[in-house]
Protein backbone atom coordinates (compact mmCIF):
# COMPACT_ATOMS: atom_id res chain seq x y z
CA UNK A 1 0.00 0.00 0.00
CA UNK A 2 1.02 3.58 -0.54
CA UNK A 3 1.22 4.04 3.22
CA UNK A 4 4.42 1.99 3.29
CA UNK A 5 5.61 4.03 0.32
CA UNK A 6 5.09 7.18 2.32
CA UNK A 7 7.14 5.73 5.15
CA UNK A 8 9.92 4.72 2.80
CA UNK A 9 9.89 8.23 1.37
CA UNK A 10 10.02 9.58 4.90
CA UNK A 11 12.99 7.37 5.74
CA UNK A 12 14.80 8.56 2.61
CA UNK A 13 14.06 12.10 3.64
CA UNK A 14 15.50 11.50 7.08
CA UNK A 15 18.61 9.95 5.59
CA UNK A 16 18.96 12.83 3.18
CA UNK A 17 18.51 15.40 5.91
CA UNK A 18 21.09 13.64 8.07
CA UNK A 19 23.65 13.65 5.30
CA UNK A 20 23.14 17.29 4.44
CA UNK A 21 23.58 18.24 8.09
CA UNK A 22 27.23 17.45 7.73
CA UNK A 23 27.99 19.71 4.83
CA UNK A 24 26.14 22.65 6.37
CA UNK A 25 27.85 26.01 6.03
CA UNK A 26 28.58 25.99 9.73
CA UNK A 27 31.54 23.62 9.56
CA UNK A 28 29.89 20.52 10.89
CA UNK A 29 28.55 22.14 14.06
CA UNK A 30 25.46 20.35 15.29
CA UNK A 31 23.23 21.76 17.98
CA UNK A 32 21.26 19.41 20.27
CA UNK A 33 18.56 17.81 18.09
CA UNK A 34 15.01 18.38 19.27
CA UNK A 35 12.08 16.23 18.25
CA UNK A 36 8.80 17.99 17.67
CA UNK A 37 6.21 17.06 20.27
CA UNK A 38 3.83 15.39 17.80
CA UNK A 39 0.40 14.54 19.24
CA UNK A 40 -0.36 10.80 18.87
CA UNK A 41 -3.46 11.56 16.80
CA UNK A 42 -1.38 13.53 14.30
CA UNK A 43 1.20 10.75 14.09
CA UNK A 44 -1.54 8.23 13.44
CA UNK A 45 -3.74 10.15 11.04
CA UNK A 46 -1.72 12.51 8.87
CA UNK A 47 1.61 12.87 7.12
CA UNK A 48 4.64 13.99 9.14
CA UNK A 49 5.31 17.72 9.56
CA UNK A 50 7.42 19.62 7.06
CA UNK A 51 10.87 20.39 8.44
CA UNK A 52 13.34 21.77 5.90
CA UNK A 53 16.52 19.76 5.46
CA UNK A 54 18.64 22.83 6.08
CA UNK A 55 16.91 23.85 9.28
CA UNK A 56 16.59 20.88 11.63
CA UNK A 57 14.95 21.53 14.99
CA UNK A 58 17.38 21.99 17.88
CA UNK A 59 17.10 22.86 21.55
CA UNK A 60 19.33 25.90 21.10
CA UNK A 61 17.58 27.00 17.89
CA UNK A 62 14.14 26.91 19.51
CA UNK A 63 15.40 28.75 22.60
CA UNK A 64 16.85 31.46 20.40
CA UNK A 65 13.77 31.61 18.17
CA UNK A 66 11.50 31.99 21.16
CA UNK A 67 13.61 34.85 22.52
CA UNK A 68 13.55 36.58 19.15
CA UNK A 69 9.81 36.09 18.75
CA UNK A 70 9.13 37.94 21.99
CA UNK A 71 11.87 40.56 21.53
CA UNK A 72 10.97 44.13 20.53
CA UNK A 73 14.54 44.64 19.28
CA UNK A 74 13.56 43.32 15.86
CA UNK A 75 11.48 46.46 15.27
CA UNK A 76 13.00 49.77 14.17
CA UNK A 77 12.25 51.59 17.45
CA UNK A 78 12.36 48.65 19.87
CA UNK A 79 8.65 48.85 20.61
CA UNK A 80 7.08 45.90 18.84
CA UNK A 81 7.79 42.17 18.90
CA UNK A 82 6.21 39.45 16.78
CA UNK A 83 4.26 38.64 19.91
CA UNK A 84 2.81 42.16 19.85
CA UNK A 85 0.45 40.95 17.12
CA UNK A 86 0.63 37.23 17.93
CA UNK A 87 -0.01 36.83 21.63
CA UNK A 88 -0.06 33.42 23.34
CA UNK A 89 -3.34 34.20 25.10
CA UNK A 90 -4.97 34.66 21.67
CA UNK A 91 -3.52 31.42 20.30
CA UNK A 92 -0.84 33.68 18.80
CA UNK A 93 -3.31 35.91 17.00
CA UNK A 94 -4.36 39.49 17.81
CA UNK A 95 -7.69 40.33 19.47
CA UNK A 96 -7.76 43.64 17.55
CA UNK A 97 -9.41 43.58 14.11
CA UNK A 98 -6.30 45.13 12.63
CA UNK A 99 -2.93 45.13 14.31
CA UNK A 100 -1.07 48.41 14.60
CA UNK A 101 2.54 48.81 13.52
CA UNK A 102 5.27 50.88 15.17
CA UNK A 103 4.24 54.06 13.36
CA UNK A 104 0.67 53.75 14.56
CA UNK A 105 -0.57 52.57 11.17
CA UNK A 106 -3.16 49.80 11.20
CA UNK A 107 -3.05 47.00 8.65
CA UNK A 108 -5.95 45.81 6.53
CA UNK A 109 -5.99 42.16 7.50
CA UNK A 110 -6.59 40.41 10.79
CA UNK A 111 -3.53 38.78 12.34
CA UNK A 112 -3.39 35.00 12.01
CA UNK A 113 -3.15 32.48 14.83
CA UNK A 114 0.06 30.42 14.84
CA UNK A 115 -0.19 26.70 15.53
CA UNK A 116 0.37 23.45 13.67
CA UNK A 117 2.00 25.41 10.85
CA UNK A 118 4.56 22.63 10.27
CA UNK A 119 1.64 20.61 8.86
CA UNK A 120 0.84 23.14 6.18
CA UNK A 121 2.06 20.79 3.45
CA UNK A 122 1.59 23.35 0.68
CA UNK A 123 3.84 25.71 2.63
CA UNK A 124 1.95 28.81 1.56
CA UNK A 125 1.72 31.31 4.40
CA UNK A 126 -0.32 34.47 5.03
CA UNK A 127 -3.99 34.79 4.12
CA UNK A 128 -2.92 35.01 0.48
CA UNK A 129 -0.11 32.44 0.55
CA UNK A 130 2.56 34.89 -0.58
CA UNK A 131 5.28 33.44 1.69
CA UNK A 132 6.75 30.12 0.60
CA UNK A 133 7.95 28.71 3.93
CA UNK A 134 7.87 29.57 7.63
CA UNK A 135 11.46 30.83 7.31
CA UNK A 136 10.55 32.98 4.32
CA UNK A 137 7.46 34.33 6.10
CA UNK A 138 9.54 35.67 9.01
CA UNK A 139 11.41 37.97 6.62
CA UNK A 140 8.28 40.04 5.94
CA UNK A 141 7.06 41.57 9.25
CA UNK A 142 10.48 42.95 10.21
CA UNK A 143 10.62 45.16 7.14
CA UNK A 144 6.90 45.75 6.60
CA UNK A 145 6.41 49.54 6.90
CA UNK A 146 3.10 49.12 8.71
CA UNK A 147 4.48 46.49 11.06
CA UNK A 148 8.03 46.49 12.52
CA UNK A 149 9.27 48.95 9.86
CA UNK A 150 12.91 48.00 10.21
CA UNK A 151 15.54 47.04 7.64
CA UNK A 152 17.27 43.69 7.84
CA UNK A 153 20.78 45.21 8.06
CA UNK A 154 19.59 47.36 10.99
CA UNK A 155 17.89 44.46 12.75
CA UNK A 156 20.99 42.29 12.31
CA UNK A 157 23.26 45.12 13.60
CA UNK A 158 21.13 45.47 16.70
CA UNK A 159 21.33 41.75 17.45
CA UNK A 160 25.05 41.61 16.64
CA UNK A 161 25.74 44.46 19.08
CA UNK A 162 23.63 42.87 21.79
CA UNK A 163 25.47 41.36 24.79
CA UNK A 164 23.49 38.11 24.64
CA UNK A 165 22.57 37.26 21.05
CA UNK A 166 25.94 36.38 19.46
CA UNK A 167 26.51 33.57 21.96
CA UNK A 168 22.97 32.28 21.43
CA UNK A 169 23.51 32.16 17.66
CA UNK A 170 26.81 30.37 18.26
CA UNK A 171 24.99 27.74 20.32
CA UNK A 172 22.20 27.34 17.78
CA UNK A 173 24.12 27.49 14.51
CA UNK A 174 27.84 27.34 15.35
CA UNK A 175 28.55 30.91 14.32
CA UNK A 176 28.45 34.35 15.91
CA UNK A 177 27.95 35.96 12.52
CA UNK A 178 24.29 36.86 12.59
CA UNK A 179 22.35 37.31 9.37
CA UNK A 180 18.69 37.41 8.35
CA UNK A 181 18.78 33.77 7.27
CA UNK A 182 19.79 32.58 10.72
CA UNK A 183 17.33 34.90 12.44
CA UNK A 184 14.45 33.54 10.40
CA UNK A 185 15.67 29.96 10.81
CA UNK A 186 15.61 30.33 14.59
CA UNK A 187 12.17 31.97 14.59
CA UNK A 188 10.84 29.24 12.29
CA UNK A 189 12.13 26.56 14.63
CA UNK A 190 10.20 28.14 17.48
CA UNK A 191 7.07 28.58 15.36
CA UNK A 192 7.18 24.86 14.44
CA UNK A 193 7.03 23.93 18.13
CA UNK A 194 3.68 25.74 18.47
CA UNK A 195 1.57 22.61 18.31
CA UNK A 196 -2.01 22.39 19.46
CA UNK A 197 -3.43 18.88 19.75
CA UNK A 198 -5.09 18.59 23.12
CA UNK A 199 -8.61 19.90 22.75
CA UNK A 200 -11.71 18.29 24.20
CA UNK A 201 -12.41 16.85 20.75
CA UNK A 202 -8.92 15.31 20.57
CA UNK A 203 -9.55 13.66 23.92
CA UNK A 204 -12.94 12.48 22.67
CA UNK A 205 -11.22 10.81 19.71
CA UNK A 206 -8.67 9.30 22.06
CA UNK A 207 -11.57 7.87 24.07
CA UNK A 208 -10.76 9.70 27.27
CA UNK A 209 -13.58 12.24 27.27
CA UNK A 210 -17.23 12.32 26.22
CA UNK A 211 -18.99 14.93 24.13
CA UNK A 212 -22.39 16.30 25.11
CA UNK A 213 -25.42 15.53 22.98
CA UNK A 214 -25.33 19.09 21.66
CA UNK A 215 -21.65 18.84 20.69
CA UNK A 216 -22.25 15.52 18.95
CA UNK A 217 -25.16 16.96 16.99
CA UNK A 218 -22.95 19.92 16.13
CA UNK A 219 -20.39 17.53 14.66
CA UNK A 220 -23.17 15.99 12.58
CA UNK A 221 -24.22 19.42 11.31
CA UNK A 222 -20.58 20.12 10.44
CA UNK A 223 -20.32 16.85 8.50
CA UNK A 224 -23.76 16.92 6.87
CA UNK A 225 -23.87 18.09 3.26
CA UNK A 226 -27.49 19.12 3.81
CA UNK A 227 -26.69 21.43 6.70
CA UNK A 228 -23.22 22.77 7.59
CA UNK A 229 -21.11 20.89 5.05
CA UNK A 230 -18.06 22.50 6.60
CA UNK A 231 -15.82 19.44 6.33
CA UNK A 232 -14.93 19.73 2.65
CA UNK A 233 -12.74 22.73 3.51
CA UNK A 234 -12.23 22.61 7.27
CA UNK A 235 -11.38 18.93 7.69
CA UNK A 236 -12.95 16.04 9.57
CA UNK A 237 -12.17 13.78 12.52
CA UNK A 238 -9.52 12.00 10.43
CA UNK A 239 -7.70 15.28 9.80
CA UNK A 240 -6.75 16.95 13.09
CA UNK A 241 -5.63 20.15 11.32
CA UNK A 242 -9.21 21.33 10.73
CA UNK A 243 -8.19 23.15 7.55
CA UNK A 244 -7.29 22.23 3.99
CA UNK A 245 -4.82 25.15 3.79
CA UNK A 246 -6.30 25.87 0.36
CA UNK A 247 -7.66 29.19 -0.96
CA UNK A 248 -11.39 29.70 -1.35
CA UNK A 249 -13.99 32.41 -1.65
CA UNK A 250 -16.56 31.61 1.04
CA UNK A 251 -19.10 34.18 -0.09
CA UNK A 252 -18.27 37.20 2.05
CA UNK A 253 -18.48 39.99 -0.56
CA UNK A 254 -19.92 40.89 -3.94
CA UNK A 255 -16.80 42.80 -4.90
CA UNK A 256 -13.32 42.26 -3.63
CA UNK A 257 -11.48 45.27 -2.23
CA UNK A 258 -8.80 42.82 -1.12
CA UNK A 259 -8.13 40.34 -3.92
CA UNK A 260 -6.37 37.90 -1.59
CA UNK A 261 -4.70 35.00 -3.37
CA UNK A 262 -5.59 36.57 -6.72
CA UNK A 263 -3.45 39.62 -5.98
CA UNK A 264 -0.44 37.31 -5.58
CA UNK A 265 -1.02 35.07 -8.60
CA UNK A 266 -2.66 37.69 -10.83
CA UNK A 267 -5.23 35.05 -11.76
CA UNK A 268 -8.76 36.55 -11.86
CA UNK A 269 -10.11 33.09 -11.03
CA UNK A 270 -8.55 33.55 -7.58
CA UNK A 271 -9.73 37.09 -6.86
CA UNK A 272 -11.20 37.22 -3.38
CA UNK A 273 -9.92 33.81 -2.28
CA UNK A 274 -8.18 33.42 1.07
CA UNK A 275 -6.56 30.55 2.89
CA UNK A 276 -8.98 28.48 4.95
CA UNK A 277 -8.14 29.04 8.62
CA UNK A 278 -8.03 26.18 11.09
CA UNK A 279 -11.05 25.89 13.37
CA UNK A 280 -8.92 25.02 16.35
CA UNK A 281 -8.79 27.54 19.17
CA UNK A 282 -11.66 29.72 17.94
CA UNK A 283 -12.37 30.46 21.59
CA UNK A 284 -9.24 32.63 21.59
CA UNK A 285 -8.86 33.90 18.03
CA UNK A 286 -11.73 36.38 17.53
CA UNK A 287 -12.31 38.42 15.47
CA UNK A 288 -12.75 36.16 12.44
CA UNK A 289 -12.09 36.14 8.69
CA UNK A 290 -9.18 37.75 6.83
CA UNK A 291 -10.45 41.21 7.72
CA UNK A 292 -11.68 40.35 11.19
CA UNK A 293 -15.22 41.39 10.25
CA UNK A 294 -17.01 39.00 12.60
CA UNK A 295 -16.62 39.35 16.34
CA UNK A 296 -18.32 36.15 17.37
CA UNK A 297 -18.69 32.54 16.25
CA UNK A 298 -22.44 33.19 16.04
CA UNK A 299 -21.86 35.85 13.40
CA UNK A 300 -19.69 33.40 11.43
CA UNK A 301 -22.37 30.71 11.57
CA UNK A 302 -25.05 33.23 10.54
CA UNK A 303 -22.87 34.13 7.58
CA UNK A 304 -22.74 30.55 6.33
CA UNK A 305 -26.39 29.97 7.16
CA UNK A 306 -28.01 33.03 5.57
CA UNK A 307 -25.39 35.68 4.74
CA UNK A 308 -23.67 34.26 1.65
CA UNK A 309 -23.35 36.64 -1.26
CA UNK A 310 -22.54 35.76 -4.82
CA UNK A 311 -19.40 36.78 -6.67
CA UNK A 312 -17.82 35.13 -9.66
CA UNK A 313 -15.15 33.20 -7.76
CA UNK A 314 -17.43 31.90 -5.02
CA UNK A 315 -16.62 28.32 -4.13
CA UNK A 316 -19.01 25.70 -5.57
CA UNK A 317 -19.39 24.23 -2.09
CA UNK A 318 -21.36 27.29 -0.98
CA UNK A 319 -24.98 26.18 -1.30
CA UNK A 320 -28.20 28.08 -1.99
CA UNK A 321 -26.24 31.29 -2.43
CA UNK A 322 -29.30 32.97 -3.95
CA UNK A 323 -31.06 32.42 -0.62
CA UNK A 324 -27.98 33.38 1.40
CA UNK A 325 -27.29 29.81 2.48
CA UNK A 326 -28.97 26.65 3.71
CA UNK A 327 -30.70 28.32 6.65
CA UNK A 328 -29.74 26.33 9.73
CA UNK A 329 -32.26 25.99 12.54
CA UNK A 330 -31.46 27.86 15.78
CA UNK A 331 -30.82 24.52 17.45
CA UNK A 332 -28.39 23.35 14.76
CA UNK A 333 -26.58 26.68 15.00
CA UNK A 334 -26.19 26.38 18.75
CA UNK A 335 -25.00 22.79 18.43
CA UNK A 336 -22.56 23.66 15.66
CA UNK A 337 -21.07 26.36 17.85
CA UNK A 338 -20.83 23.95 20.77
CA UNK A 339 -18.98 21.48 18.57
CA UNK A 340 -16.61 24.16 17.21
CA UNK A 341 -15.69 25.12 20.74
CA UNK A 342 -14.61 21.54 21.51
CA UNK A 343 -11.71 22.19 19.14
CA UNK A 344 -10.22 24.81 21.44
CA UNK A 345 -7.23 23.79 23.50
CA UNK A 346 -6.61 25.66 26.78
CA UNK A 347 -3.35 23.77 27.33
CA UNK A 348 -2.00 25.36 24.16
CA UNK A 349 -2.40 28.96 25.24
CA UNK A 350 -1.09 28.26 28.75
CA UNK A 351 1.85 26.10 27.67
CA UNK A 352 4.83 27.47 29.65
CA UNK A 353 7.19 26.70 26.74
CA UNK A 354 5.34 29.19 24.59
CA UNK A 355 5.40 32.23 26.90
CA UNK A 356 7.67 35.27 26.87
CA UNK A 357 11.15 34.18 28.07
CA UNK A 358 12.55 37.69 28.26
Amino acid sequence: MKRSLAYIALCCLLVVSCTTDQDDNTDGYTATPLELNIPPLFAEKILPPVIPEDNPQSVEGVTLGRKLFFDKKLSADNTLACAGCHSPASAFSDPRQFSVGIDGTAGTRNSMPLFNLAWNYNELFFWDGRAASIENQALFPVIDPIEMHNTWPEAVNTLQADPEYPALFEAAFGTQNIDSTLVTKAIAQFVRTLISGNSKFDRYLAGTEQLTQSELNGLNVFLDENRGDCFHCHGNPNNPLWTDNIFHNNGLDETHIDRGRGAVTGDPREFGTFKTPSLRNLAYTAPYMHDGRFNTIDEVIDHYSEGLVYSETIDPLMKKVDEGGVGLTPEDKADLKAFLLTLSDPSFISNPDFQDPN
Binding site: M1, K2, G235, N236, N238, I246, R269, D315, L317, V321
Partner: protein
Protein backbone atom coordinates in the same frame (compact mmCIF):
# COMPACT_ATOMS: atom_id res chain seq x y z
CA UNK B 1 -1.54 -9.10 -0.70
CA UNK B 2 1.50 -8.07 -2.68
CA UNK B 3 3.58 -10.79 -1.04
CA UNK B 4 1.06 -13.44 -1.96
CA UNK B 5 1.15 -12.33 -5.56
CA UNK B 6 4.93 -12.41 -5.54
CA UNK B 7 4.90 -15.90 -4.06
CA UNK B 8 2.55 -17.10 -6.73
CA UNK B 9 4.77 -15.50 -9.31
CA UNK B 10 7.83 -17.11 -7.76
CA UNK B 11 6.26 -20.56 -7.70
CA UNK B 12 5.12 -20.16 -11.27
CA UNK B 13 8.66 -19.24 -12.23
CA UNK B 14 10.12 -22.26 -10.43
CA UNK B 15 7.50 -24.50 -11.92
CA UNK B 16 8.15 -23.05 -15.34
CA UNK B 17 11.91 -23.63 -15.16
CA UNK B 18 11.53 -27.24 -14.13
CA UNK B 19 9.27 -28.04 -17.00
CA UNK B 20 10.45 -26.01 -19.88
CA UNK B 21 14.21 -25.71 -20.08
CA UNK B 22 14.18 -24.46 -23.67
CA UNK B 23 12.04 -21.49 -22.84
CA UNK B 24 13.76 -19.35 -20.15
CA UNK B 25 11.26 -17.39 -18.09
CA UNK B 26 11.40 -13.61 -18.29
CA UNK B 27 12.45 -11.82 -15.13
CA UNK B 28 9.98 -9.40 -13.57
CA UNK B 29 11.89 -6.18 -14.15
CA UNK B 30 9.56 -3.86 -16.03
CA UNK B 31 7.57 -1.06 -14.44
CA UNK B 32 4.74 0.62 -16.29
CA UNK B 33 4.01 4.32 -16.21
CA UNK B 34 0.50 5.70 -16.54
CA UNK B 35 -0.30 9.23 -17.60
CA UNK B 36 -3.75 10.66 -16.97
CA UNK B 37 -5.29 13.07 -19.45
CA UNK B 38 -8.70 14.69 -19.35
CA UNK B 39 -11.01 15.97 -22.02
CA UNK B 40 -14.54 17.13 -22.68
CA UNK B 41 -15.65 15.15 -25.73
CA UNK B 42 -12.14 15.42 -27.15
CA UNK B 43 -11.24 18.97 -26.06
CA UNK B 44 -8.28 18.69 -23.74
CA UNK B 45 -8.91 20.04 -20.24
CA UNK B 46 -5.97 22.03 -18.93
CA UNK B 47 -5.52 24.39 -16.02
CA UNK B 48 -6.65 27.35 -18.16
CA UNK B 49 -9.95 25.60 -18.92
CA UNK B 50 -11.06 25.56 -15.31
CA UNK B 51 -13.76 27.97 -14.15
CA UNK B 52 -14.90 28.78 -17.68
CA UNK B 53 -18.58 28.25 -18.47
CA UNK B 54 -17.57 26.65 -21.74
CA UNK B 55 -19.05 23.17 -21.64
CA UNK B 56 -22.51 21.93 -22.52
CA UNK B 57 -23.58 18.66 -21.00
CA UNK B 58 -25.88 16.11 -22.63
CA UNK B 59 -28.88 17.68 -20.93
CA UNK B 60 -27.98 21.04 -22.48
CA UNK B 61 -26.74 22.92 -19.41
CA UNK B 62 -23.85 25.29 -19.84
CA UNK B 63 -21.30 24.50 -17.18
CA UNK B 64 -17.77 24.94 -15.89
CA UNK B 65 -15.34 22.75 -14.00
CA UNK B 66 -13.56 24.30 -11.05
CA UNK B 67 -12.25 21.19 -9.40
CA UNK B 68 -11.49 17.68 -10.59
CA UNK B 69 -9.71 15.42 -8.15
CA UNK B 70 -10.10 11.62 -8.20
CA UNK B 71 -8.64 8.42 -6.89
CA UNK B 72 -7.65 5.27 -8.75
CA UNK B 73 -6.31 2.10 -7.17
CA UNK B 74 -5.32 -1.52 -7.71
CA UNK B 75 -3.80 -1.27 -11.18
CA UNK B 76 -3.69 -4.93 -12.20
CA UNK B 77 -1.68 -6.56 -14.97
CA UNK B 78 -2.85 -9.99 -16.09
CA UNK B 79 -0.30 -11.78 -18.25
CA UNK B 80 -2.04 -13.17 -21.31
CA UNK B 81 0.27 -16.17 -21.71
CA UNK B 82 0.72 -17.20 -18.07
CA UNK B 83 -2.56 -15.83 -16.66
CA UNK B 84 -0.58 -14.54 -13.67
CA UNK B 85 -1.94 -11.31 -12.18
CA UNK B 86 0.22 -8.59 -10.75
CA UNK B 87 -1.20 -5.88 -8.50
CA UNK B 88 0.95 -3.54 -6.45
CA UNK B 89 -2.13 -2.67 -4.41
CA UNK B 90 -1.27 1.03 -4.36
CA UNK B 91 -3.29 4.06 -5.37
CA UNK B 92 -3.01 7.48 -6.92
CA UNK B 93 -4.91 10.71 -6.20
CA UNK B 94 -4.99 12.90 -9.30
CA UNK B 95 -5.60 16.64 -9.05
CA UNK B 96 -6.21 17.85 -12.59
CA UNK B 97 -6.29 21.59 -11.92
CA UNK B 98 -3.13 21.53 -9.81
CA UNK B 99 -1.53 19.07 -12.22
CA UNK B 100 -0.39 16.74 -9.45
CA UNK B 101 0.06 12.97 -9.84
CA UNK B 102 -0.79 13.09 -13.53
CA UNK B 103 1.77 10.34 -13.97
CA UNK B 104 1.85 7.27 -11.80
CA UNK B 105 4.02 4.19 -11.80
CA UNK B 106 2.56 1.36 -9.71
CA UNK B 107 5.14 0.00 -7.32
CA UNK B 108 5.56 -3.42 -8.90
CA UNK B 109 7.92 -5.02 -11.41
CA UNK B 110 6.52 -7.44 -13.93
CA UNK B 111 8.01 -9.49 -16.77
CA UNK B 112 7.77 -7.98 -20.22
CA UNK B 113 4.92 -9.39 -22.29
CA UNK B 114 1.31 -9.03 -23.29
CA UNK B 115 -1.10 -7.99 -20.56
CA UNK B 116 -4.68 -7.17 -19.87
CA UNK B 117 -4.55 -3.99 -17.78
CA UNK B 118 -7.28 -2.90 -15.37
CA UNK B 119 -7.61 -0.48 -12.49
CA UNK B 120 -10.26 0.50 -9.98
CA UNK B 121 -11.92 3.90 -10.02
CA UNK B 122 -12.00 4.87 -6.34
CA UNK B 123 -11.47 2.21 -3.70
CA UNK B 124 -13.22 -1.14 -3.63
CA UNK B 125 -14.63 -2.10 -0.24
CA UNK B 126 -11.51 -4.05 0.67
CA UNK B 127 -9.41 -0.90 0.45
CA UNK B 128 -12.08 1.60 1.47
CA UNK B 129 -11.33 1.47 5.20
CA UNK B 130 -12.01 4.53 7.26
CA UNK B 131 -9.09 6.81 8.05
CA UNK B 132 -6.24 4.35 7.45
CA UNK B 133 -4.27 6.27 4.80
CA UNK B 134 -2.40 9.26 6.28
CA UNK B 135 -1.61 10.74 2.87
CA UNK B 136 -5.29 10.71 1.89
CA UNK B 137 -6.36 12.04 5.30
CA UNK B 138 -3.91 14.89 4.63
CA UNK B 139 -4.98 15.54 1.03
CA UNK B 140 -7.46 18.24 0.05
CA UNK B 141 -8.37 18.93 3.68
CA UNK B 142 -9.10 15.25 4.20
CA UNK B 143 -10.18 12.95 1.38
CA UNK B 144 -12.40 11.15 3.87
CA UNK B 145 -16.12 10.43 3.90
CA UNK B 146 -17.92 11.14 7.21
CA UNK B 147 -18.80 8.06 9.26
CA UNK B 148 -22.49 8.97 9.04
CA UNK B 149 -22.20 8.24 5.31
CA UNK B 150 -20.34 5.01 5.84
CA UNK B 151 -16.80 6.37 6.26
CA UNK B 152 -13.94 5.49 3.94
CA UNK B 153 -12.85 7.88 1.22
CA UNK B 154 -14.14 9.94 -1.66
CA UNK B 155 -13.63 8.52 -5.14
CA UNK B 156 -13.95 11.87 -6.91
CA UNK B 157 -14.64 15.54 -6.27
CA UNK B 158 -15.87 17.19 -9.45
CA UNK B 159 -17.16 20.72 -8.85
CA UNK B 160 -18.12 23.80 -10.76
CA UNK B 161 -20.95 26.05 -11.83
CA UNK B 162 -23.80 25.73 -14.30
CA UNK B 163 -26.49 27.95 -15.74
CA UNK B 164 -29.74 26.71 -14.25
CA UNK B 165 -33.20 26.76 -15.82
CA UNK B 166 -33.81 30.28 -14.50
CA UNK B 167 -30.63 31.44 -16.32
CA UNK B 168 -28.89 32.01 -13.00
CA UNK B 169 -25.48 30.59 -12.15
CA UNK B 170 -25.60 27.84 -9.58
CA UNK B 171 -23.04 25.53 -8.02
CA UNK B 172 -22.68 21.80 -8.38
CA UNK B 173 -20.57 19.32 -6.42
CA UNK B 174 -20.53 15.94 -8.17
CA UNK B 175 -18.81 13.91 -5.49
CA UNK B 176 -18.67 10.16 -5.96
CA UNK B 177 -18.40 7.89 -2.93
CA UNK B 178 -19.68 4.47 -1.87
CA UNK B 179 -23.47 4.61 -2.18
CA UNK B 180 -25.08 4.84 1.22
CA UNK B 181 -28.51 5.13 2.72
CA UNK B 182 -28.36 6.10 6.35
CA UNK B 183 -32.11 6.18 6.80
CA UNK B 184 -31.91 2.42 7.35
CA UNK B 185 -30.46 0.76 10.45
CA UNK B 186 -27.82 -0.37 10.01
CA UNK B 187 -26.74 1.92 7.19
CA UNK B 188 -27.09 0.41 3.70
CA UNK B 189 -23.83 0.51 1.75
CA UNK B 190 -23.09 -0.45 -1.82
CA UNK B 191 -19.64 -0.50 -3.35
CA UNK B 192 -19.86 1.89 -6.30
CA UNK B 193 -16.20 1.85 -7.23
CA UNK B 194 -15.72 0.16 -10.59
CA UNK B 195 -13.11 -1.67 -12.53
CA UNK B 196 -11.85 -0.01 -15.69
CA UNK B 197 -10.36 -2.21 -18.38
CA UNK B 198 -7.72 -0.65 -20.59
CA UNK B 199 -7.62 -3.74 -22.76
CA UNK B 200 -4.46 -5.35 -24.05
CA UNK B 201 -1.11 -3.62 -23.54
CA UNK B 202 2.34 -4.77 -24.65
CA UNK B 203 4.69 -4.19 -21.73
CA UNK B 204 8.31 -3.61 -22.70
CA UNK B 205 11.23 -2.16 -20.79
CA UNK B 206 9.78 1.37 -20.65
CA UNK B 207 6.09 1.35 -21.39
CA UNK B 208 3.87 4.34 -20.80
CA UNK B 209 0.08 4.10 -21.03
CA UNK B 210 -2.21 7.08 -21.40
CA UNK B 211 -5.49 6.89 -19.49
CA UNK B 212 -8.11 9.29 -20.81
CA UNK B 213 -11.11 10.58 -18.90
CA UNK B 214 -13.91 12.15 -20.91
CA UNK B 215 -15.61 14.26 -18.26
CA UNK B 216 -18.71 14.77 -20.44
CA UNK B 217 -19.53 11.07 -20.00
CA UNK B 218 -20.26 11.60 -16.30
CA UNK B 219 -23.31 13.54 -17.47
CA UNK B 220 -24.38 11.46 -20.50
CA UNK B 221 -25.28 7.81 -20.36
CA UNK B 222 -27.06 5.69 -19.43
CA UNK B 223 -28.38 8.51 -17.21
CA UNK B 224 -28.70 11.90 -18.86
CA UNK B 225 -27.79 14.12 -15.93
CA UNK B 226 -30.01 17.07 -15.07
CA UNK B 227 -27.99 19.47 -12.95
CA UNK B 228 -31.17 21.39 -12.12
CA UNK B 229 -32.30 18.33 -10.19
CA UNK B 230 -29.03 16.87 -9.02
CA UNK B 231 -26.38 19.48 -8.20
CA UNK B 232 -25.30 19.38 -4.57
CA UNK B 233 -25.87 17.15 -1.55
CA UNK B 234 -25.21 14.11 -3.70
CA UNK B 235 -23.07 12.25 -1.17
CA UNK B 236 -26.01 11.08 0.97
CA UNK B 237 -28.13 10.42 -2.15
CA UNK B 238 -28.00 6.66 -2.71
CA UNK B 239 -29.71 6.74 -6.10
CA UNK B 240 -27.50 9.55 -7.36
CA UNK B 241 -24.41 7.55 -6.41
CA UNK B 242 -25.73 4.56 -8.36
CA UNK B 243 -26.33 6.80 -11.38
CA UNK B 244 -22.81 8.20 -11.16
CA UNK B 245 -21.48 4.68 -11.00
CA UNK B 246 -23.49 3.72 -14.07
CA UNK B 247 -22.33 6.77 -16.02
CA UNK B 248 -18.70 6.41 -15.04
CA UNK B 249 -18.42 2.70 -15.73
CA UNK B 250 -19.27 0.74 -18.86
CA UNK B 251 -22.49 -0.35 -17.17
CA UNK B 252 -24.95 -1.88 -19.63
CA UNK B 253 -22.67 -1.27 -22.59
CA UNK B 254 -22.34 2.50 -22.02
CA UNK B 255 -19.11 4.20 -23.05
CA UNK B 256 -17.83 4.99 -19.57
CA UNK B 257 -15.56 7.91 -18.80
CA UNK B 258 -12.22 6.14 -19.16
CA UNK B 259 -10.42 4.83 -22.20
CA UNK B 260 -6.93 3.85 -23.20
CA UNK B 261 -5.02 6.54 -25.06
CA UNK B 262 -1.57 6.33 -26.58
CA UNK B 263 0.81 3.61 -25.49
CA UNK B 264 4.49 4.39 -25.95
CA UNK B 265 7.43 2.04 -25.56
Amino acid sequence: MKKIVLMIVASVLVFGCNNDDNNPQPTPNATVEFTFTHNWDGDVIENSDFDLLQYFNANGEQMSISKLVYLISDVTFTNLSTAVSYDAGDYNLINVREGTNLTFTPDIEIPEGEYLVTFTFGFDDEDNQDGIYPDLNSADGGWNVPMALGGGYHYMRLEGKFVDNTSAQANYAYHTIRANDNTTTPITLQDTSFEVSLGQVTVGSSTSVEVKMNVAEWFRSPNQWDLNQLNTVLMPNFDAQIMMYENGSTFNGSTGVFSKGTVTQ
